[in-house]
Symmetry: D3
Subunit: 117 residues, 6 copies
């Protein structure tokens, strides 16, 4: 499995496990988290970019990977992604650089999946 | 002075003071901070909304006020602003609520400035 | 108005304003936030103490004030509150000290409201 | 070694290394950190749950693992743990979700240690 | 009272109040916090500058004020202080700017106390 | 490759990749980040120690590794490094302990590189 597949597989497996625990607050929170990115006054891509930058300044690699996956599906370009990263680094500082490195690696894999691993 | 005027006046006064210290790194950082929001692959309004949500999840009231001021000038609607706030609260959690309260108060004043203080 | 009354009044006023905006995600998030502290496997007081320490290590003064108000109603003692503060300072570091100062001032006012201000 | 054993072994080895450096402030800090969780006005389990939620909202995986280990020994139930996680996610936001995933995996291993790895 | 006097007075009053609560962990933590800045392999001024930048990237205004007061007594120059601020802003990002504004105001008052208020 | 070599190799590879994207803001930010640590009113070693503690309280392992590498070249002693760590832990709290463990491991490898891996 490459990094993208590995991330998705672990995320899915553990989200299922968490839902199976039947904690109502957590389940509603997960569901609300999906709802927040649905198209409204702002379109879905813009909202996912908002989720992406929020994840980067809060330095959550897995959250960054998730939003990179969704904006990739929604057709975001590499140039747009780097503009998001540049604002994130300005606002959040050089501590965002290591997360930017990993994010770019993940983004490149989304665009050009390694054939074997 | 109302809250918006007070914020702008203090910000301007102290930014001038900081620039007068002639620290090159800080001056270049301030200038780069402006450059980051200029229109590119993403338009200026989208970039300012990215700055707004980054400021909110990092819980910087003054940064929120600043970006509210710029997106207000760029024609953002109240509905759009609340969608940014909703994603910020989901990603950053309920600790963003007090900042949302102050942000909404500032936003309302931008849209309907109090006539006297 | 003393600090406790001032906090409650502003919080209530702005929460109403936010709800009036009719953003579904924010409204559900606010409602879920209340639900999370309801008695379950852990009792309400323990849950509010969990909310208190989370607020302190995340350094959200208003969140601290809110949870101090609720645990005060639920009969928490000053000794218990200081034990929460001591763990918060150990885990979150000396940057929690200024928040502890303000929290203790708020707690003292909850226990012994000033008669005039 | 499974994840629990691996975590404990590395933690112990490096804590010994740090203590061997003979920095008095660090040694006293480590010792104070233990003292903070001793039974007082609040019992030990409650204090460890406070440490757990503080670790989760501050998003420190190793701190979460440590407190999961101690509350496991103190008899906390899975239902209680998930209630802590649900408050953590509400207060700290969706950036806590990836930490929740890893925490649940660690908790499950504490309850049902893999026989081989 | 000017800002420096106000800060010192409140800090002292509430620290006394906290110590009066007789929570051993908090008292030892406060004492350890003082000990950490005593001259050792690194001199006192360097250690206080370390405390200053740590406070700024963690965005704790009161902690910044405290360390500005101590480095002022230890003879730090304005040029040195601005170099600390410049690194803080690079590492911690533009969310440090509002804290830098308030820090510079406090620093200027330390160097040139207002005669009346 | 040992940990130090692995860190340096990945960092260099991805920094090159990021620069190749030709985002001007990010490139200038990277360049400014280098400039901030150049000798001025404060010498280079002091500035790198400031970068080190800022990285530790912000809990960025890769940033810590980077600054450990530079202060190692600049002749910092183990005793000095531990004094930086002790202040970091006091200011930033016990959530810095796991980062301290990894930092000490990296520091030891800088001083005594494993011959094979």
């Amino acid at each position: 499995m490459n990094k993208v597949e590995e991330f998705n597989a672990y995320r899915e497996k553990m989200n299922e496990r968490i839902k199976s625990a039947d904690n109502k607050v957590l389940k509603r929170f997960f569901s609300l988290d999906n709802q927040a990115y649905q198209s409204g006054a702002l379109d879905e891509k813009t909202k996912e970019l908002l989720g992406l930058i929020a994840s980067m300044v809060l330095r959550c690699d897995d959250c960054i990977s998730y939003h990179l996956g969704t904006v990739h599906k929604l057709g975001a370009t590499t140039e747009e992604i780097f503009e998001v990263f540049s604002i994130a680094n300005l606002v959040g500082g050089s501590i965002c650089i290591p997360h930017t490195r990993r994010a770019v690696e993940f983004w490149d894999e989304l665009n050009d999946p390694p054939t074997a691993d």
